[in-house]
Symmetry: C2
Subunit: 307 residues, 2 copies
């Protein structure tokens, strides 16, 4: 049974996400202390793949994931899931809400339920711990009265119960996770795919605008952009881009080749089905058929058969 690493400890949103990411095959989930450790295990071949948070995480630093993805040998994403950021409030069965005096969780999680806490636990002491799962463990051990945790935590601490479920100040907050592995055969295009890349460009006027124009001119919808300075290389920036489409699509392939020509370097971070399965509307001039027709016309012009 293949082993799949994830950012631990067990009982976090990342475990919950990694279960979903591996739902269609038998896998043993192995918690790692950090994202770099999980990815190193993939690179070394100790595990087949890893589940890592990439966007809006509540439990791990997303920049850490981006850096860990690109600082070493190539890894590619093959699947994504999006988990709603909604917490359970866990406590021992004999503890009711009005008896809760101490509440523990990861600082990011506490930030996401501040409104709920003000309304429901205005007098409780708030304690920051290293993860939402660690909070549940501490409550199970009697250190605090209640934990703000991922729903999956209850499976690891069956002695606790949920005082409240679906707690979240922002209703549609969500975290995106990726299943990453070493380069290999890509997931088939589904018509509702996302492609992730990391491009390094020099810090010159217009460079980024031109880079984005390579996408927009080909009718490619950009869903995320994030810049990070390149370590030890002043004046150069890494741009993490997510956009609609699969590298096997003509418009995406041509755009990526254009970025490869334009940028100092481009790293492919994967083409995979979008979690929401939303089919991107493709402009008439950017469809597979349009690219095929144009290529045939160009070939005929070059051969002197058409004008």
């Amino acid at each position: 049974m293949p082993e799949i690493a994830y950012l631990g400890p067990p009982g976090t949103f990342t475990e919950q996400a990694t279960r979903l990411l591996t739902a269609d095959f038998d896998a043993e989930l192995v918690p790692s202390d950090t994202v770099p450790v999980a990815l190193a295990a993939v690179r070394s071949g100790d595990v087949l793949a890893a589940g890592v948070p990439v966007e809006n995480s509540v439990e791990g630093s997303v920049p850490a994931t981006l850096d860990a993805l690109t600082d070493d040998d190539p890894l590619v994403a093959v699947k994504e899931v999006v988990i709603p950021v909604q917490f359970d409030v866990l406590a021992h069965p004999d503890v009711d809400l009005d008896r809760v005096e101490t509440v523990a969780s990861h600082p990011h999680a506490l930030a996401q339920v501040r409104g709920w806490m003000t309304e429901n636990l205005p007098k409780a002491d708030v304690r920051a711990v290293s993860s939402t799962a660690a909070a549940a463990a501490a409550v199970a051990a009697g250190e605090f009265d209640a934990a703000i945790s991922a729903p999956v935590a209850l499976e690891h601490y069956p002695e606790l119960r949920a005082l409240e479920t679906g707690v979240a100040d922002v209703r549609d907050a969500a975290t995106r996770f990726l299943l990453v592995r070493k380069p290999g055969a890509l997931p088939e295009p589904t018509g509702a795919d996302r492609t992730s890349i990391c491009a390094v460009i020099s810090h010159e006027v217009g460079t980024l605008a031109d880079m984005l124009a390579e996408l927009s001119l080909r009718g490619i919808n950009l869903s995320r952009i994030e810049s990070r300075p390149v370590k030890h290389s002043f004046g150069h920036y890494r741009f993490y881009l997510d956009f609609d489409g699969h590298v096997a699509d003509a418009r995406v392939g041509e755009a990526m080749a254009a970025l490869r020509r334009r940028c100092d370097s481009v790293r492919f971070l994967g083409s995979y089905p979008k979690a929401d399965r939303a089919v991107a509307s493709v402009r008439p001039g950017s469809s597979e058929q349009a690219f095929r027709n144009a290529a045939e016309w160009l070939a005929a012009v070059r051969a002197g058969r058409l004008a």
Copy 2:
């Protein structure tokens, strides 16, 4: 011996240009009354090719050439020459400048020597005729004292002599001529080529800017753009574009395929060596090698061999 049509009559700049355009093969030059007549003779196969003015002409309407090139079956340019707009002042040997009372020429030619006339023939009567060659013919027939003509006219009227040569108010005025024929094998790329196309686009905000971005993003230098309304199709415009490079070049081919996808229609009007032989500097990211490298990288990414 192949016949080559040109905008007549004999003795004009177009004859002079067509001689240069056909200098590397034996050809019989056949004057036509109009550019459309010359191009119709090419389309019908009566002649092999035609020499026509396309830019800054002093003797024929350039829009007429553009319309005639695109209103009917495809024709492509295979060669260009640029002729300096400098005139001879022709007269009978017994006529000196101070005895010239009447001067004839084509109105465009007269406009180009107005300054010289004011200075040298301030009292002469100026007469507009249908061509610079017709002016020379009329002088030979004794109708006027002097003609403002193309240098080549003297070969047709050896009984005349040049009172003055190299007459031009603007020193670097020039006219560009093309040798056009039916589609067939294209001239080989030389590294200093020009490509001409006609693209039809609808009249929407940003359409033209996006079209030009397809060229600029690929490092292609636009040397001429001219718009003409499309007859019987309100809101659509034809754009005549000349840009550096050969359709066989990777950057030009990809840009043309992009325009083909983007525009309502694109007509290829030829790739041919530039008259000035000026090699365009190609940006590193737009070189043949850069395109080849990017295509190989993309193929490896798509095959899952690289990331």
